[in-house]
Symmetry: C2
Subunit: 207 residues, 2 copies
């Protein structure tokens, strides 16, 4: 009634699936992941607690839809970072910084994304086809010397992804506050951490 779109509203509500996902994201931003109950989502969308079950099998499937949107937006954030060729040194670090900043700016969403992944023991398939994973790998490939083995590229991508995810989950931790100010801000801290990943190379028997 209140927000009736003039045109085709296919069913009672309009587009409840969409509204539910939006409501879920609003709750995530406003009150955090702990407040994200199915009932609260339905309440926010203005429907009864049972209504969501006509659009999602259960709560997990709704969260899946939310996570899917999150991964898509992460793709976009990385693509944007990759496109902005400010400097050509530390391009990988730029990508890492963009990744962690996305997690920092959308902490609840990022948490839902990985909670779902852990439950499924898999990253979403979309990452393998033009998604964020490919962007990391392609950036690595651009900068690697020619003739780098396929498997090395894959392993390096995984390594970079793990480092990014680890940092994304810990970026808000209080233990790093001192270092952040010491280095002149959060992004400087991020870049510094990424660049120190190289210290591993000194101890590893790499070809």
């Amino acid at each position: 009634m209140s927000t009736a779109p003039a045109e085709s509203r296919p069913y009672h509500h309009g587009d409840l699936s969409r509204a539910l996902v939006d409501a879920a994201r609003k709750i995530l931003e406003t009150d955090g992941p702990a407040a994200l109950s199915l009932r609260a989502v339905a309440r926010e969308a203005g429907v009864s607690p049972a209504a969501p079950y006509h659009h999602f099998k259960d709560k997990a499937e709704l969260l899946e839809a939310v996570a899917h949107e999150g991964w898509h937006e992460l793709d976009e954030a990385l693509a944007k970072a990759r496109a902005s060729t400010d400097g050509d040194h530390g391009r990988m670090s730029d990508l890492g910084v963009a990744y962690v900043c996305f997690a920092r700016d959308n902490p609840a969403l990022y948490r839902v994304m990985y909670d779902r992944s852990r439950d499924k023991d898999a990253l979403p398939d979309q990452m393998k086809e033009g998604g964020a994973y490919c962007q990391v790998r392609d950036t690595l490939a651009e900068h690697a010397e020619d003739g780098v083995a396929e498997i090395d590229l894959e392993l390096a991508t995984i390594a970079a992804w793990c480092a990014g995810h680890g940092l994304a989950e810990m970026i808000g931790f209080k233990q790093f506050a001192a270092l952040k100010t010491q280095l002149g801000g959060e992004e400087a801290f991020l870049r510094a951490v990424f660049e120190h990943l190289g210290m591993f190379a000194k101890f590893a028997p790499q070809d």
Copy 2:
């Protein structure tokens, strides 16, 4: 009654705090984190649902105790890996492998550990005083050239920790199954990923 210890049982139950933590860990191992309700823990320990509240402020505080044990055992696992000087090349990778293997062998416990950390936005304090964090830093220090700056050591430790945690959370992901067999097992895969962290060094403007 059934498992009455012959000696000093200070109160009604004996040592309910201890029994509750044990019960929680048993549930974690058996049925996973989703089944870990306070009521289930009390049930497992053979007390009423309200009994735990005389030993823990709320559910979070019980999980805190469980997580505390987990961090302690992680300390021990890393110390053990550090002590076994099988080969002197790739020592840092050995430590990383030990870290991830702990997470792989105690997935539910590891999840509780980090869930609690994320809720508090901080790693436990015990890590700063002889804990796992120090073991990583000390191992790095042993292998670094003399005169490495304090801050570089700190940043490298953080970098290593983030990479380890990221890999620990994703080690079970299905996407890596093919690579694991291709490399001849899970540990070989782990070591390979750690050793490819060095590819970052090639793109970073490091001194």
